[in-house]
């Protein structure tokens, strides 16, 4: 009872940088045992320890490095799609199959409601037990998963049902059969179609946002991340193996890639950060999911108020500006797109002429 805050973390679930927190837990456990065995009241000591532990967690989690964030995002006890389906989606009915090849278990789709809002849920399923994990391919979807996602999104669009996607994947599956069945094509089609789908689309990275596999269900009107989720063009290990020629330099790579919610928000690449409870989502699944639910309901209401034409216009503008340098952002406010292109062509035309003149002399 004294320890409900940590009831989701068994002794083995501490991350390497949580040594002090684990120590305090061990002390609390010993005191609890001792007090029940010998009948001595240690509640004051336990309370003090708990207070210290909270301070420790605050200290650690307010200064997480990028690599530590990746570890939190991959924590074995971190809430997964199924936790969200159980705790925040009412009346969820899963819809299977891509109508073409099969039913990818790494990708889940289905109708349900969040609060009073009817939605189509799309998300990666990683699986909890070893058996489930294998069946779900650890959340690495195949082309049929991306095609299923799109098929169900089209279904939702037909009946004007908004879409909420839950992103949690190390990446799209790299395999012989995935290539044979067109992994790249399946993702590309989703990117194109999601940019014009005439219903609100909210995308939430709840754990791992692994590259094209994440983006394949990650194009929409709003892109949010849980505080300690990560979103990256390549895994830190993969990046380290290529640029550092040493996969063990993943911590440095994670830092360089700016893959945390904080950095991505600062860079204007995501719209919102959904806060996690003290010590990360795995320490309090209910509060985490409650935060996500509040965000989803609020955003759904906000987007539903916008007419379809405007919604698509705004979505396109958002995509069109992705990664834009600040200088361009400012100039865009003053010059409409067409004029800008025309001006660019004219000036560049002059420049090429003068540079070709230079080379001829």
């Amino acid at each position: 009872m004294s320890n409900t805050k940590n009831n989701n973390t068994a002794a083995g679930d501490y991350l390497a940088f949580e040594g002090d927190v684990a120590d305090i837990d061990r002390q609390i456990n010993e005191l609890t045992k001792l007090s029940s065995a010998k009948g001595i009241d240690y509640s004051a000591e336990i309370y003090a320890l708990q207070k210290e532990q909270v301070a420790q967690l605050k200290q650690i989690y307010s200064n997480l490095s990028a690599w530590q964030t990746v570890q939190v995002a991959r924590h074995p006890k971190r809430p997964l799609l199924d936790d969200y389906l159980n705790l925040m989606v009412n009346d969820f009915h899963e819809l299977h199959g891509d109508r073409c090849f099969g039913n990818d278990r790494a990708m889940v789709a289905g109708l349900g409601s969040i609060g009073t809002e009817k939605v189509m849920i799309i998300g990666h399923r990683k699986g909890k037990s070893t058996k489930e994990k294998i069946a779900c391919n650890f959340g690495c979807a195949n082309p049929e998963g991306y095609r299923k996602a799109f098929a169900k999104m089209q279904f939702a669009a037909k009946y004007n049902i908004p879409i909420v996607t839950f992103i949690d994947t190390p990446g799209a599956h790299p395999g012989i059969e995935a290539e044979q069945r067109g992994q790249a094509q399946a993702i590309a089609v989703n990117l194109l179609e999601m940019s014009i789908l005439p219903v609100p689309i909210i995308c939430i990275v709840i754990g791992e946002g692994g590259s094209g596999g994440a983006l394949g269900i990650g194009v929409g009107d709003r892109l949010a991340m849980l505080e300690f989720a990560y979103y990256s063009v390549i895994s830190p290990e993969g990046c380290a193996a290529i640029l550092w020629r040493d996969g063990s330099q993943a911590a440095q790579a994670a830092d360089a890639l700016k893959l945390t919610s904080k950095d991505l928000l600062k860079l204007g690449l995501i719209d919102s950060v959904i806060p996690e409870p003290l010590g990360g989502a795995h320490r309090n699944i209910h509060d985490t999911i409650d935060n996500v639910e509040k965000f989803a309901v609020r955003t759904l209401r906000e987007l539903k108020r916008i007419g379809t034409e405007n919604l698509l216009k705004m979505r396109y503008e958002k995509l069109r500006r992705l990664g834009e340098p600040i200088a361009v952002k400012l100039s865009r406010k003053t010059a409409p797109a067409k004029r800008r292109i025309k001006a660019a062509i004219e000036t560049m035309g002059k420049k090429t002429k003068s540079s070709s003149a230079k080379t001829s002399t």
Binding site: Q185, L269, E324
Partner: protein
């Protein structure tokens, strides 16, 4: 124009090539024979023995594909702003950008502009393998998008020669975002009725394949090009299985239904011109 003369044209430059040093040989990766370098270069950088298509830079590609001196480049000076201030292993991305600009003579990994192919006006985008392996960061995404916007506003066909290692890691999620951006602008171009012909060349992988390379009305590939989502090494390491012969080649993609046709380099001009004529409204 006489029909025979048209079909015999194969893009050979008739001008003397002074820049090729005499007596240089190279080993062809296709037939593993030593071939005379100038005989390869005069054959559109295709091995005269086995038809192996050598990788070529953007400048050479434009020379082979567009009518002589018709390519008008747009935004040649757009450079990466290094959005992440990316440093790695005692190196800086900024330095790599400068080095590759020097090496390739190109300020970024794509060239865009208006051009003519056999007298048909098009908007052309050509990726530059000599600049960070043709990878897509902000500038590649932006220039591609501007090219599509231009093709839309002027109602021109759009041809993109893809050659890329994928999304550029040095720009992180900015690169990933370009996949979404280029796909979104293609959706608009498609709605406007624009004809988009991607030409996939060796190599076309990763985020470029998983976005604009696969979104053409008619997808052409050069023979024997490596085309895929995950790199072959990544796949081999992940699933620990030997990859089958011919895996992820143009021929493999054709067999599995993901490209429309495989066209020899010497026939690309006539095939693109033919498609444009067929799709004229």
């Amino acid at each position: 124009m006489a029909k025979t003369a048209k079909s015999k044209w194969n893009g050979f430059s008739l001008k003397p090539r002074k820049d090729v040093p005499e007596g240089l040989w190279l080993r062809c990766p296709g037939c593993e024979q030593m071939v005379y370098k100038s005989s390869v270069e005069q054959n559109l950088n295709v091995c005269p023995r086995c038809d192996y298509h050598f990788r070529i830079n953007a400048k050479t590609r434009i020379k082979y594909l567009a009518d002589e001196d018709t390519f008008e480049e747009i935004l040649p000076d757009l450079r990466s702003h290094d959005p992440l201030d990316f440093r790695y292993n005692d190196s800086e991305y900024k330095d790599r950008l400068k080095a590759d600009e020097k090496k390739s003579g190109s300020a970024e990994a794509i060239k865009i502009g208006k051009a003519f192919i056999k007298g048909r006006q098009i908007v052309l985008a050509v990726m530059e393998p000599e600049f960070l392996m043709g990878s897509m960061g902000y500038v590649v995404g932006e220039k591609f998008t501007v090219a599509v916007e231009l093709a839309t506003s002027e109602a021109l066909p759009f041809v993109a020669v893809c050659c890329s290692g994928g999304a550029r890691m040095h720009e992180g999620v900015v690169s990933l975002g370009q996949m979404a951006k280029t796909s979104a602008v293609l959706a608009r171009y498609d709605k406007a009725g624009g004809l988009y012909i991607p030409i996939l060349t060796d190599p076309t992988t990763g985020g470029v394949t998983a976005s604009f390379a696969m979104l053409g009305d008619c997808i052409i590939a050069e023979p024997g090009a490596l085309i895929g989502f995950a790199g072959p090494r990544t796949i081999a390491e992940t699933i620990k299985v030997e990859l089958p012969d011919g895996f992820q080649t143009s021929e493999f993609l054709l067999e599995h239904g993901f490209i429309d046709m495989i066209i020899h380099r010497k026939d690309l001009r006539s095939e693109v011109a033919r498609l444009i004529d067929y799709c004229k409204k």
